[in-house]
Each structure stands twice: as structure tokens, then as C-alpha cells.
Amino acid sequence: MIDMLEFWRQSLPQLLTGYRLSLLVTGASLFLGIPLGLLLALSLQTRSTWLKLPSLSVVEIGRGASILVLLQFVYFGMPSVGLTFSSFASVTIAFTWCTAAYTSEIIRAGLESVPQGQREAGEALGMTRLDILRIVILPQGLPVSVPALLGFSILMLQASSLAFVVALPELMSKAQLIGSNTFRYMPLFTLTAILYAAVCIPATIVVGFLERRLSRHF
């Protein structure tokens, strides 16, 4: 037991350096992906086929293909058409794509939760479509999406553990590295699991709290 704690104490600093990168790459993907998701959600609501069709493909591929395969496609596949990305860039690209695809659905559901009468009131007041969107729809629809977006963010942090397949030195890679040197997989992956859970459990509780508060208001 004491032996294990000592092992944890020794490996923790390395794991934490990895964890910083995990959080960084997750944050970057969410930061880029969520606004893209909003754009996709909006362009899927338009009647223009020119906007709709490409958006739909981006969403369907992002949601349909496994995120691991998406990541490998970017990192191992793109170089054959002359596009070589670093592991960090590859992960960010693949995860941004995935984030945009999934969050577009979350945001669309939020926007659709705004009653039709709100749009009609804006129209009857002679507001332009952009004003109706900015002043009436988004301020009411986006807050509805927040719990689901946060829930998705938790899943993305977990998904960042897949980045070890492209050798990004994040938490999982570090754990594997230490593991292959020490062969003490059991205590090592237990500690790794605890580290992920230490962020994900409180976040999940917050999501539950937000969801309950939201359902009280509507």
C-alpha cells in the first residue's frame, strides 16, 4: 500500500504535465468547435441548399465516423495529399470537427425550444431576420443548450485520451509511457482514472444541477 502511494507520488508530476496538455487540447477544440457548431446549426435552418448540403455532410461525417478514425484520418491520412499536421494540430482539427458536428445538434435543439410566437412577435414588430436571431432567438435558445454543451465538453475531455494514438504527450500517453517502463499497470491506470474522474465527477454534478434548474424555469 505504502509502496503504491510512493509509486503514485513519483509518477504524479509527469501525469499532471500530460493532463495540462489534455485540458489544453480539449479547450482548444471546444473553443473552435462550439462557434462552428452554432454556424452549422444556423445554416441547417436556412432554405438555401448551397449552405445546407455541405453543412449536413460536415455534421453527418463528424457524428457518423468514429472520432478515433477521424483523428487517424487527419494524422495518418492527410499527409498522402501533402497536408502534414503535428499531433497537436491533428487532434485539434479532428476534435473541432467532432465538436462542431455534435454541438450543432445540441444548439439546434436549444434554438428550436424557443416558442414560435417569439419569432412571430419579432416579425410583427418589423425586426429584420438578423435582429430577431440576435435579440430574440439566441438569448433564449443558447442558455437552454448550456447543460448539454457542458455534458458534451466532459465527453471531449475523456475523448482526449485517444490522442495517445498520434503520440500527443497528454495524460494517457504519459501513463502508457510510465507503464511500459515499470509494468505497474494496475496502480498506474487507477491513478489515471482518478485524475480523469476528479474533473469529470464534479462537472457531471454541475451539469445535473444546471439541468434541474433549467427544467424548473420552463
Binding site: P115, G117, Q118, E120, A121, E123, A124, L125, G126, M127, T128, R129, D131, I135, V136, P139, Q140
Partner: protein, 268 residues
């Protein structure tokens, strides 16, 4: 439809001059939802300052007619003129035309449709800023004045959810008035309210009528229809079945269908 074509030529009746001309002119208006005809060849003219009540059984198309008049529903056939702007169902309407068409029309909904995330004051001010390009100070001053007028000056900084239904509807009226409309459409403004709260709203509407506002009111309030409006229209099955001076229509309708409807609602 040859009949409709003939009407198209009659419509641009810009012969009469200035203040005398009709405010609203609806000609040959039809609305289909799929195979179902909700409005069937509606003709209607409204003079400036006139207050018109539209009554009739539910599903008769009265709300749809009102919503067609400010193009929340697109007509399937026919033409509508409000003020100087005319819209024809067979021509594609540009976004700019749509905005110009709606500009002189205010609308009040059955479910109020206030913006729940904005304060009462912002609810009344926001469209003034966006549509009339008033400054925030200017708009807020107008809003406070209007809220005073509907008896809600003290509610300006509250949120709509904190107001009763009757108060919300009066705020909605102030919001529509803030854009200085020439025509006000009311879509069952008191149907979602308890009788007592409905009365507050009806009083504001009566005051508005007295002040000379042109109004078209879809309503179930028979008393309002008889005593406040100048003219009553009874609709059934997408058609106007009776039309005329309020007291006459309410007391001695001609058609059997109208008698049957009024008998049912007045003897309740």
C-alpha cells in the same frame, strides 16, 4: 380563377385622395393548408379610424385572416393593401417589401409573446431602436410614457414573468404602439386571461378605439364586439357570412348560420 383576376384590376383604388382613402383593402384572399381551404375568397375594406370585430366559431379562419393581413401567414391567392403598400399573393415578396408592408401594422397576440429575457422597458424599447433607429434614451422615454398610458409605469424595470397576464397583454399593446402603427391587429387578446384581467385589457383597447386608432380585433368578447367596434364580421368555414354595423349584426343577423352562432354564444 378568373374571378380573382378581375379583382386584381379593381384593387389599386388610389383614386380617392389623402386622408379619405381606405386603410386596409383585402381582395379575393384565399389560404390553403394542404388540401384544406382555411380562407375562401375574403373581401374586406377598413376605413381609417374604424374598429372592426371579427367573431365566429373556432376554426372559422378568423385568426388566419388576421395573420394574413400582416403576412405572418402567406396568402395562397388574392391581394392585400395596407396604407400605401400592396402585396399580391402571386408575386414573390422580397424581404424589403415585407418589412415595408409590416411597418404600419402593430399586432397583439393571444399569448402576449413578450420577450421573457428582456425587462418590460426593454420589451417596449427594443423594436423602436432597431426599426425606428431611435436612440436608447429616446426609445426609453417613449416606452415609459406608453407604459404610463396603459397603467403600468411602475412595472418598467420588472421582467414579464413577474407580471400578471393582463399586465403582460397591456405591455404587449404598449410595445406595438411604440412603433406608431396606423393599424392595430388584435388576435384574441383576452382569450388567455381570466375575465377580470381581460377587462383591464379591454379598457385599454376601448381607450385606443376612442383615440381614433384603426383596429381589427378577433375576439370572443361579444360585449366588446357590440359596444366598442363600429362594424362586426362573422366568419364561418373560411368565409365571411355576415357583415355590418355592430348593433345590427349582433341583434338581428340575416343568415341562419350567423343566428345559430350568436344564439349559441349569447345564451350561454
Amino acid at each position: 380563377m378568373p374571378e380573382d383576376d378581375a379583382l386584381m384590376h379593381i384593387l389599386p383604388s388610389q383614386t380617392s385622395s389623402g386622408s379619405q382613402r381606405v386603410m386596409v383593402e383585402v381582395a379575393g384572399l384565399c389560404k390553403d393548408f394542404g388540401a384544406h381551404r382555411v380562407l375562401d375568397n375574403i373581401h374586406l375594406t377598413v376605413d381609417p379610424g374604424e374598429v372592426i370585430a371579427i367573431i365566429g366559431p373556432s376554426g372559422s379562419g378568423k385568426s388566419t385572416l388576421l395573420r394574413c393581413i400582416n403576412l405572418l401567414e402567406r396568402p395562397s391567392a388574392g391581394a392585400i393593401r395596407v396604407g400605401d403598400v400592396e402585396i399580391d399573393a402571386f408575386r414573390k415578396i422580397t424581404r424589403r417589401e415585407l418589412l415595408a408592408f409590416r411597418r404600419p401594422i402593430g399586432m397583439v397576440f393571444q399569448s402576449f409573446n413578450l420577450f421573457p429575457h428582456l425587462s418590460v422597458l426593454r420589451n417596449v424599447s427594443i423594436a423602436q431602436e432597431r426599426v425606428l433607429k431611435r436612440s436608447r434614451e429616446e426609445a426609453d422615454a417613449v416606452s415609459r410614457q406608453l407604459l404610463e398610458r396603459v397603467g403600468l409605469g411602475s412595472k418598467a424595470d420588472q421582467y414579464p414573468a413577474r407580471c400578471s397576464g393582463g399586465q403582460q397583454q397591456r405591455i404587449a399593446i404598449a410595445r406595438a404602439l411604440a412603433l406608431e402603427p396606423e393599424l392595430m391587429l388584435f388576435d384574441e387578446p383576452t382569450s388567455a386571461l381570466d375575465p377580470e384581467l381581460g377587462l383591464e385589457v379591454l379598457n385599454v383597447m376601448q381607450e385606443l378605439a376612442t383615440a381614433g386608432m384603426t383596429m381589427i380585433v378577433v375576439t370572443h368578447e361579444m360585449h366588446f364586439a357590440e359596444s366598442v367596434s363600429n362594424r362586426v364580421i362573422i366568419m364561418a368555414d373560411g368565409k365571411i357570412i355576415e357583415e355590418g354595423p355592430s348593433v345590427q349584426v349582433m341583434r338581428s343577423p340575416h343568415s341562419e348560420r350567423a343566428k345559430q352562432f350568436l344564439g349559441a354564444v349569447l345564451n350561454r
